[in-house]
């Protein structure tokens, strides 16, 4: 039994992206759910399974049920960091296929920008790292970037090209939070935080929420929007702490991507549009390699020359990503919403012509959890 094409995303919405003054994380989440239900033409009373993972509320699934005022058959609160939501879609597809739920809502929201101005997290430093005070999570990614540069000759300029490409996409997205021009030189001249990563290598700190509604494929066509089908998913968890990651240049995306593509029956060359969790510029290089878009060690050269920017060979993070569009702490949901919009043909100036097949990839912890989803239009079934 395969989950390929058995479930579909029938509703999607964003809420409170950028700055949502005076609103709580759960209020932003609920507003996104409200929008996704309207988009799907689904009543709140039809929702019988929910999934979320909130920044500070460790029992956020329970809070979500309470604030929606429903008594779900299934409440999922899988907590793997920013990748959680791409795991939630897999569990949703399983529940729907098994007939254990009819309508699943997956959602997230955070007010971290207006509430604190920095990453809000319930996570502390690990016992055997705390004495050395690495910045959480930045220094872990800086170590991965340093190793990639040492081992493969990846350059400072190539890291910058990832941020420049993201900004190029953001300039085509009226909803993106930062749309000023950005050059390679700007990135390299920006403030050094945890060497080699500079401030422009880092994702934004914004507010924002997002929600999806999933239903079984056979009923998905009854909804107002063109269904976006779940074609494949896979996970990889390699460690919790960066000091326990076996090879800082190879992430669990190698496992999650292969599993997702095998389920979907596609390869990297088939993908029309790619949405990667770009918490830091090095992430994009690592994930493009591990997901098979280029060979290991060649990710730096791959992103040069605008290849992942507007007009390039491979559209990556067409909303502007966490680097330039929105980053409310756990970005995974936003890869899914942008893919849904691209596959529906609803992204205006940044629309990829003929986009039928999308890859979404979430990252959690410090390169710890990797989850890949393949989504497609009806033409890909």
């Amino acid at each position: 039994m395969s989950l390929r094409g058995k479930a579909a995303i029938v509703g999607a919405a964003l809420a409170g992206c950028g700055e949502a003054h005076g609103r709580t994380s759960m209020e932003i989440t609920i507003e996104a759910v409200h929008g996704a239900l309207a988009d799907a033409g689904v009543k709140l009373s039809q929702v019988d399974a929910i999934a979320t993972c909130q920044p500070l509320d460790l029992l956020s699934g329970l809070t979500l049920a309470q604030e929606l005022g429903i008594n779900p058959k299934f409440t999922m609160n899988n907590r793997m960091g920013g990748s959680s939501f791409l795991s939630h879609t897999m569990w949703a597809a399983m529940l729907l296929e098994l007939g254990l739920a009819e309508t699943v809502v997956i959602c997230y929201g955070s007010n971290q920008r207006t509430a604190s101005g920095k990453l809000m997290t319930a996570i502390g430093l690990p016992t055997y790292e705390a004495p050395y005070k690495p910045m959480f999570p930045l220094s872990s990614y800086a170590l991965a970037a340093d190793r990639h540069m040492h081992q493969f000759g990846t350059t400072r300029e190539q890291l910058a090209d990832v941020a420049v490409a993201a900004r190029g996409w953001a300039q085509k997205n009226p909803e993106a939070f930062v749309r000023d021009p950005l050059t390679r030189e700007d990135v390299i001249a920006s403030r050094l935080i945890s060497d080699p990563l500079r401030v422009r290598d880092c994702c934004l700190v914004t507010d924002g929420g997002a929600a999806l509604v999933m239903r079984r494929a056979e009923v998905a066509v009854d909804h107002p929007q063109p269904p976006v089908y779940f074609l494949g998913g896979g996970e990889g968890t390699t460690h919790r702490d960066i000091s326990e990651m076996a090879d800082l240049t190879v992430t669990g995306a190698a496992q999650s991507g292969a599993a997702a593509m095998a389920m979907a029956g596609v390869s990297a060359a088939d993908i029309d549009v790619v949405q990667l969790y770009d918490a830091f510029t090095i992430n994009v290089i690592l994930f493009l390699e591990d997901l098979g878009f280029c060979k290991k060690g060649e990710g730096g050269a791959f992103v040069e020359g605008g290849r992942i920017a507007p007009g390039g060979d491979l559209p990556v993070n067409t909303n502007g990503g966490g680097l330039s569009c929105v980053h409310p702490g756990m970005y995974g949901m936003f890869t899914l919403v942008e893919a849904v919009r691209q596959l529906r043909g609803q992204t205006g100036e940044r629309q990829i012509d003929g986009a039928e097949l999308a890859l979404c990839h979430g990252n959690g912890g410090v390169l710890s959890s990797q989850v890949t989803n393949i989504l497609g239009t009806a033409a890909t079934l």
Partner: protein, 132 residues
Amino acid sequence: MTTNTFEGPGPDAQFAEILSAGDFRIQRCGDCNAHIFHPRPICPECGSGDLSWVAPSGDGTIYAKTIVHRRAEKGGDYNVVLVDLAEGVRMMSRVEGVEPADITTGMAVQASIGEGMNGEPAVVFTPTEAAK
């Protein structure tokens, strides 16, 4: 049914006690001979619970490095490194006695007992050349 009860304080507490007495020890598996760090109840290579403390050589190589930039009034820049010990295990640490710009990935380093950023006992490293 087996009730698998380990005696006394766990590996974290034992490591901390050894460290505060001025010694650095890592674990070694009695079944597969793997060296293990950080301390654990069972061997991550083979699942064995037959682990004992051994003294590492202290020889290491910097696997990756970062310099955390911090304002001078807050104490200035400091480094965070991952060190591969000769025994095949990796740990986070800090390199002392060298300017940040002179710390290189691949550099040979030697372990000693120093202080963590809050003054607690911690394993730190110095460049091997400087120690000679």
